[in-house]
Subunit: 411 residues, 2 copies
Amino acid sequence: MHTPWDHRYAQRTQRMGSSAIRELLKLTEHPDIISFAGGLPAPDVFPVEAFGGACERVLRKQGAQALQYSTTEGYLPLREQIARHSERYGIKVTPDNILITSGSQQALDLIGKVFINPGDLVLVESPTYLGALQAWNAYGAEYVTVPMDEQGMNVDYLEEALRTGPKFMYVLPNFQNPSGVTLSLERRRLLVELADRYGVPIIEDDPYGQLRYEGDHLPAVVMLDDQYRNNCDLCYHGNVIYLSTFSKILAPGLRLGWVIAPPEVIRKLVQSKQGTDLHTATFTQVLAHEVSKGGFLDEHIKTIRRVYSERRNVMLATMDRTFPPEVDWTQPEGGLFLWGKLPVSLNAAEVLEAAVEQKVAFVPGEPFHPTGGGHNTMRLNFSNATPAMIQEGISRLGQVLSANIPSKVLS
Amino acid sequence: MHTPWDHRYAQRTQRMGSSAIRELLKLTEHPDIISFAGGLPAPDVFPVEAFGGACERVLRKQGAQALQYSTTEGYLPLREQIARHSERYGIKVTPDNILITSGSQQALDLIGKVFINPGDLVLVESPTYLGALQAWNAYGAEYVTVPMDEQGMNVDYLEEALRTGPKFMYVLPNFQNPSGVTLSLERRRLLVELADRYGVPIIEDDPYGQLRYEGDHLPAVVMLDDQYRNNCDLCYHGNVIYLSTFSKILAPGLRLGWVIAPPEVIRKLVQSKQGTDLHTATFTQVLAHEVSKGGFLDEHIKTIRRVYSERRNVMLATMDRTFPPEVDWTQPEGGLFLWGKLPVSLNAAEVLEAAVEQKVAFVPGEPFHPTGGGHNTMRLNFSNATPAMIQEGISRLGQVLSANIPSKVLS
């Protein structure tokens, strides 16, 4: 007889559904369409040749090791490399503070698995990263949100949110996905103090920190937390779990991210990862270590900054020229995204339908708001399309917006 | 102030502990010790040179694609390759039946995530694969067990176990880890019928199916289920979720496994995987596809069979010669493991302590029994050590056993 699978799924799975927006976004994968909907790096900047050399050296010098099982914590030379790299940004850590994950998304999943009981509150920015919500919904998280302004999370609302007793707070301080906004230094310090006062851990997600195109680098929250505690130890023991990734600085197809946390938290994440996927692919870890050696990664990041900074400038200039005055948008100092605000009378999902007809696409902002709102917001990616495509696509979108705004505002 | 992390962990994490046996096994990683404790493939059989050629071709022909994000379902040409490969073993499936996972361990995790509510019963063989228990414990699974004999799961006890209402049953039909035993054809058919009668899905875990060293290949449970349903469609719609992996036939350091299931189940697993790690590394998928092409994998599997078969023979012959008559063991027709039974008066964990002093190690069998028992059992791996090491290590173990048995039996 037929197996009624639907009735076998766990409660957490019954809640998962395919969204209307996801269905709409499938249309945007058509090659005809200029899409600003994804979050893909530019394939033109992948260092294919350097990978070729690294593959050859790895297989010649340590082929059997690179193809064998390895430890759950991750390849030690890669963890040491990350520790040295972090130190240059003022984050003092030892390999015991570091876990390699199968992309940053897995770090979010493991954090959910280790911390979240069904019904637990998680404090997030609104809007926030959709992938984090997706990871934590599976563990039954509920959300308390703090609104954003042009300086990042609006700390005036933070203390009230902390008093709801969240399991942890989640913040993307640099060029936030989706808003493109950066948390100011003053607010970072306040965040550390308030989190400590209420005993609430901070998850700091920093995939884009090194992709700054203007202004000064701001210290990571994990570093400010370490300073705040006057920690003189080389090993970090504070209140922050910091996440980053090779996806935006090397290649997302490797699925390599890392977690920095106190050693006791790393040990718990390792136990959890063991049952989840044993360990991250040895081959990609050894390869990433090999290709990053000898200052290559630093030089490569300069290339990425140059390419993305140009694309951001082209997008902003074209928006200035073609978007109607009723639309506002952020001016990101780095990262991959900017954020648009339409008049409240408009629904971005409806605008997307009209845009797809004109062969251009973006992501409506509503799903990034876990407690609702944002129906008139949109996220635009500027890293993937070429400058010429950006000009063309944004001009088309400007026309769509202009065509929609007057009638909508009058209605 | 200090963050009391211990009190922040979720209920599922509080239950996780480090086991005494795991601590003991850490000792066995010392290079002095001949260890039969792990489950590692022989590094000598990794096709390092073939990987070198494949890396070069992939980066030259499709470098940007191999380094970019890709779909959660997995690289389509690899799924097509797996579909063709499965068909040769009589399992007729389309790519819609296939999901690529980050190793088979991730398939176990995703199945737990999608199906298990806290307290749900899972029907397993006793002993069973430790990694499955580890994956499902995190979702609050409880277990009902069916004992094994030399024909695999003892079906006389199966119907009673099915009547407890398990969420699914989990079976490793070929050269089971840990016991090395193979489920007979007659029992496979009965399994399919009983599972259908009670409406309980089957998870078939088959990492070693192609590593048979003697006897005839037996059809997979998923294939028998398809026959039982008289399915004429090319697409599989039955009651089995089948798992396999590249870890034992190509290289575990790639972390590549696959799931075969009805499309509706694949879709649910895909949704769940999206929040877990977005997708499995594109680079390793494209690489595995490239290296396996043109019949290479078939030839390579023949090499593995020859090497492992010799090692199994050496281990069995040395056991015959050096083990005391009070010890019994299985005669696996394939796979990586065999299973020993000591007199009930002995505790294998205590024997391990004595063995480590003599620089030889194995895994005590008790943890493989989720509902208790097996204190006098042990698992021995024969794939990793060279024949000379196997002879030396098994001889040492024979001495340890001989030294321990008389006094223990008399006491």
